[in-house]
């Protein structure tokens, strides 16, 4: 499968974020202010519905386009549910449901804790840590009646929501779907594990973007900051730390592309997702630590923007399954294939 993205879409996204996603916008959003100007510009550009075909009300662009937009959003620490709206659009489109406008999110975001579709057509169940639920107009819910999966489009208004945040200060809310009546509902060939896998691929692009950002900030800081009479970039210890950071960024980025490819067709390739979430999660930890070390005390202030990326990296690596969860799953896949098939397992798909 070819995996190319239209640069016009990346350029459009970049321009919007450059103009409307300032560090102050991100800090205000953490305090609860909705970044209306930024959302409106994104919505007008059609970017949130990149993964929805024309006939269902979307922009009808490629999967690669959407993943590329997510990477830009990660670079800029976009403090709104762009990733979640893209993902909700993808989920609704998979079930053939016409997509409404406005911010959306998805539920559930964990492999366990099902939302049940009752015989009376109403939903039952709670979803934990739903991203940006309080800001969403609609929620795309993967629900089950027995073993049959369906996608339900649910209006968020009136749903009991208990607010909470991630360690990056982004909304992660508990939502009760008890007695909720879906606006639309359609069967879908998907299960919760695959939905979580797709979510991991989404977060991985954002993580790759955030890692690119902290590499850029760290290199620039090392060139600008002088100590002992010269820029700290001239010290070999700093150079080697930044070289290590660059390697981690490159690995996370390549791994994220692998996960994106594996999530761009009708099938979701969980092995590629597992590989990427393990490697990307490790890179997030190692990379953020180096970026902070290079920035010294300045990078530990709320005033400096470094934490916009690093706190998100720490939050995102945990979401849709952390390194330990995915490593264990991957290890079990490998064990089932057996030692003599390990190399075939690694080269499969290419």
């Amino acid at each position: 499968m070819s995996y190319t993205s239209d640069n016009i879409i990346v350029d459009t996204a970049t321009r919007i974020f450059q103009d409307l996603c300032e560090p102050a916008t991100i800090n205000d959003a953490e305090k609860g202010a909705w970044p209306k100007a930024l959302w409106d510009a994104l919505e007008e550009s059609g970017l949130p519905l990149t993964w929805v075909p024309d006939e269902l009300g979307g922009a009808g662009a490629t999967m690669a386009d959407g993943f590329a937009v997510l990477r830009v959003a990660g670079r800029f620490a976009a403090p709104l549910p762009l990733a979640e709206t893209l993902m909700a659009g993808w989920l609704l489109a998979r079930a053939g449901i016409t997509v409404p406008g406005g911010p959306m999110t998805v539920a559930p975001v964990h492999s366990d804790g099902k939302i049940v579709l009752r015989d009376d057509g109403k939903l039952a169940g709670r979803a934990r840590r739903v991203p940006f639920a309080r800001n969403a107009g609609h929620i795309a819910v993967l629900t089950h009646r027995g073993n049959d999966a369906a996608v339900a489009l649910v209006a968020a208004e009136g749903l009991p929501i208990r607010q909470s945040t991630s360690l990056a200060g982004e909304p992660r809310d508990e939502v009760s779907f008890d007695n909720a009546v879906p606006v639309a509902i359609q069967p879908v060939a998907l299960d919760q594990g695959l939905l979580v896998g797709f979510g991991a691929a989404v977060r991985l692009q954002q993580m790759a973007g955030a890692l690119e950002k902290i590499l850029e900030q760290s290199v620039q800081h090392a060139l600008d900051r002088s100590q002992f009479g010269r820029p700290i970039a001239k010290f070999q210890a700093i150079q080697h730390n930044l070289a290590t950071l660059a390697g981690e960024v490159a690995a996370a980025s390549a791994a994220a592309d692998g996960a994106a490819e594996a999530c761009s067709g009708p099938e979701i390739g969980l092995a590629e997702v597992a590989i990427a979430k393990v490697r990307g999660g490790e890179a997030a930890g190692t990379g953020a630590a180096i970026a902070h070390q290079v920035h010294g005390a300045m990078g530990f202030t709320y005033e400096h923007s470094l934490h916009h990326a690093t706190r998100r990296l720490w939050a995102w690596r945990e979401e849709f399954g952390n390194e330990a969860v995915w490593a264990q799953r991957l290890g079990r896949m490998v064990a089932r294939h057996g030692a003599d098939q390990l190399w075939s397992f690694i080269t499969q798909g290419s």
Binding site: A233, L242, A254, G258, A327, L342, S350
Partner: protein, 386 residues
Amino acid sequence: MNFSFRFDPIELPPEAKELRQEVRAFLRQEAETGTFVLGDGKGSFSREFSRKVGAKGWIGMTWPKKYGGHERSQLERYVVTEEMLAARAPTRAHSTADRQSGPVILRYGQEEIRQKILPRIAAGELCFCIGLSEPNSGSDVFAASTRATKTDGGWLVNGRKIWTSGAHHADYMIALLRTSPKTKENHRHGLTQFLVEMKTPGITTRPIINLTGGHDFNEVVFDDAFLPDAHLIGEVDMAWKQATDELAYERSGPDRWIETFPALVELVRRAGEEPSERLAEGIGREVAHLATLRRMSLSVAGMLQAGKTPSVEAAVVKDLGTNFEQALPDKVRLLAPQSGDSEPDSNDDRFEEALRYATLIAPKLTIQGGTREVLRGIIARGLGLR
């Protein structure tokens, strides 16, 4: 400004996928006839095997047909290389020439030498070694002092190369020799590449036994060894200009992350079909690293195919890859089910042997072909820090 290095995804063309199956079938057959043991060799040396690989058309794959090459893509070459390495096939007799020496001769060698040497490399008949390091010139490659002095019809060489892998098997060496002093402006000036026939009178090769007890590297002493003019490769005193792209070929390949792979294979064998949580997680982590490195390595092959010179990207792959393969044996050691948890069987010997070998070779992995410190310096330069 974006400082990130790009490793774009590569989709292998159908012919490369077919080729992979062909190589696997060949290797299975060779293993069955007893040429080597699948997954168990230490990448050893067999001229017989190399000639068979040459006959298959899998050496010098990307070179022009007029020099015995096959005009296939870098991606096809990549597939052959990784399959050979993963199976631990005995490729030592041709791997250096295929990867490094052949491409240097093709690019900078004189026509007469290209015609004479390249077809024989492609046929799997010639074994090469690389004469870079000297007693006082290790990481500082451009400090080499082994001299080539102009004489009638050629050059006289005096000095010493050291840590030269496979010199005792090699038919030829590509040597970096001093032809002029370095200049104040350019400390890399004054070195020249030459083709050296190892049988030349005045050349003595002495073994240096490494800590595994094995004989791989050597000391090579030159005492008025005569090299004909035709053996000059590229411009006199200007070897530093030729070195950069050579490294892109040398540093990004599967051999930079796969050396200790058998230890992981044997751990998976020991783990069985239903490993503990801890063991499954440990295996998963290592496989995630390995698969990502492979993706990056393949991406560099794609850059080479596109005519780029990705020397910094290659340094990134080698730094990540050698750190991974070096750390792997220690991870495997601590993950392995202890006796009592696992059924003792004959596989355990294979596990112990793979782990022992991987542990012993681990230290060299971040030294050979450019130390970790040198690579990080190259990456830092790529980031604009120096």
